[in-house]
C-alpha cells in the first residue's frame, strides 16, 4: 500500500508539472489538499482554465465520501482529545482509513497505529510528488509520448478500481457518456461535473445489494 502511494504520487508530480503549474503550487497541493484523486482532478480543471469556485466544488464532491468513514471511526476515537482528533483528520485518506479499521477491528485501539501509518503516507505522497515534479520537465514532447493522456488514464484506473458492484459501473458509464455528450455540445465544465454529481442518483434505483 505504501509503494502504491509512490507509483501514484510520481505520475501526479509529472503531469502537474507538464500542465504548467509552478513547483510551489504543486507542492502546496500535496501538502495542503493531500488527496490523490482530487489533485489529479484539479490539474485537469486548471488545464481546462476553469474558475476557482468550480475547482473547489469538484474537490468537495470527490471528498464528501470521507463522511462515510465518520460512522466507522467515531467509536474508536471517542476517548481521544479533540485536538488529536483534528490532527488525525488532516491525514485521513482512504488508505489510512482502510488500514486503521483493520487494526481497530482486531482490538488494537491505540491511535499510534493510525497516526504512524497515516503520517508515513503523507510523507511518501509529498516525496513522490517532488520526485515526479523534478523529472516532469525532462519528458519532452508530451503529446508524442502520450503523456497528455496520463491524467485521463489515471482517472479511468481510479474508476475501475473503485467499482465493486454492477450499479457502480452503470453509474460511472452513465456519468462518462452524459459528460461527453455535454462537452461535445460545448457545455461548460460545470455541466460536466454536475452530470457526475447527479449520476449516482441512479444507484437509488439499483437492486444489486446486499453490500458493505
Amino acid at each position: 500500500m505504501l509503494t502504491a502511494v509512490l507509483v501514484v504520487g510520481i505520475p501526479f508530480g509529472i503531469v502537474a508539472r507538464q500542465s504548467g503549474l509552478s513547483p510551489a503550487e504543486i507542492v502546496a497541493m500535496s501538502l495542503f489538499v493531500f488527496a490523490g484523486a482530487s489533485q489529479f482532478a484539479m490539474v485537469q480543471l486548471f488545464t481546462d482554465g476553469v474558475a476557482w469556485p468550480v475547482v473547489v466544488a469538484t474537490v468537495l464532491l470527490i471528498n464528501l465520501r470521507h463522511l462515510l468513514m465518520a460512522a466507522d471511526l467515531q467509536r474508536y476515537f471517542a476517548r481521544v482529545s479533540v485536538a488529536r482528533r483534528l490532527a488525525a483528520a488532516y491525514v485521513l485518506t482512504d488508505e489510512a482509513f482502510a488500514m486503521a479499521i483493520g487494526w481497530f477491528r482486531r482490538g488494537r485501539t491505540e491511535l499510534a497505529y493510525y497516526a504512524t501509518f497515516a503520517v508515513a503516507l503523507f510523507v511518501l505522497w509529498n516525496t513522490a510528488t517532488v520526485i515526479g515534479m523534478l523529472i516532469g520537465p525532462s519528458i519532452g514532447e508530451p503529446r508524442r509520448f502520450g503523456v497528455d493522456f496520463a491524467i485521463t488514464a489515471t482517472f479511468i484506473a481510479i474508476v475501475i478500481l473503485s467499482v465493486r458492484r454492477r450499479s457502480d459501473a452503470v453509474v460511472a458509464l452513465a456519468a462518462a457518456l452524459v459528460a461527453s455528450a455535454l462537452a461535445y455540445l460545448g457545455a461548460s465544465v460545470v455541466a460536466v461535473v454536475t452530470a457526475g454529481a447527479l449520476a449516482p442518483l441512479l444507484v437509488l434505483f439499483a437492486r444489486d445489494e446486499p453490500d458493505r
Binding site: A41, V55, A71, I156, I158, A175
Partner: protein, 102 residues
C-alpha cells in the same frame, strides 16, 4: 486564481475530514445517503475522464483515445494495478497516434 483554488480545495477537504472525526452523528447515515456518497467520487472522476476519451479537444476522437481507454480498463481489470493501467494507456495512445500520423 490557482492559489485560490488550492486554498479553497484544501479548506473544504479538511472540513470534511474534520467533520468525519469531530461531529458525533446521531446514528449511521441513512443507507441511501451512504450509497450516494459511496458512488459519488467515481462518478465525478468518470465525468471528467469521459470527454477526454470521446471528445478530446472538443472534437470526436479519431480512435487512439478510445482504444487506449479500453487498454486501461482491460489492464486494470486484469492486474488491479493503477500504474500498469496508466502505462498501458499512455503507451497505447502514443503508438496509435504514431501509426495514424504515418
Amino acid at each position: 486564481m490557482t492559489w485560490l483554488a488550492i486554498a479553497g480545495s484544501a479548506l473544504v477537504t479538511y472540513l470534511v475530514r474534520a467533520f468525519a472525526f469531530r461531529v458525533p452523528l446521531p446514528s449511521a447515515l441513512p443507507p441511501r445517503v451512504a450509497r450516494y456518497l459511496d458512488a459519488l467520487p467515481a462518478a465525478i472522476i468518470a465525468a471528467l475522464a469521459g470527454p477526454a476519451v470521446l471528445v478530446p479537444n472538443g472534437a470526436p476522437t479519431r480512435g487512439p483515445e478510445l482504444a487506449a481507454a479500453i487498454a486501461v480498463i482491460a489492464m486494470v481489470a486484469w492486474r488491479r494495478n493503477l500504474l500498469a493501467g496508466v502505462l498501458a494507456g499512455v503507451a497505447s495512445v502514443a503508438l496509435l497516434r504514431l501509426v495514424l500520423a504515418a
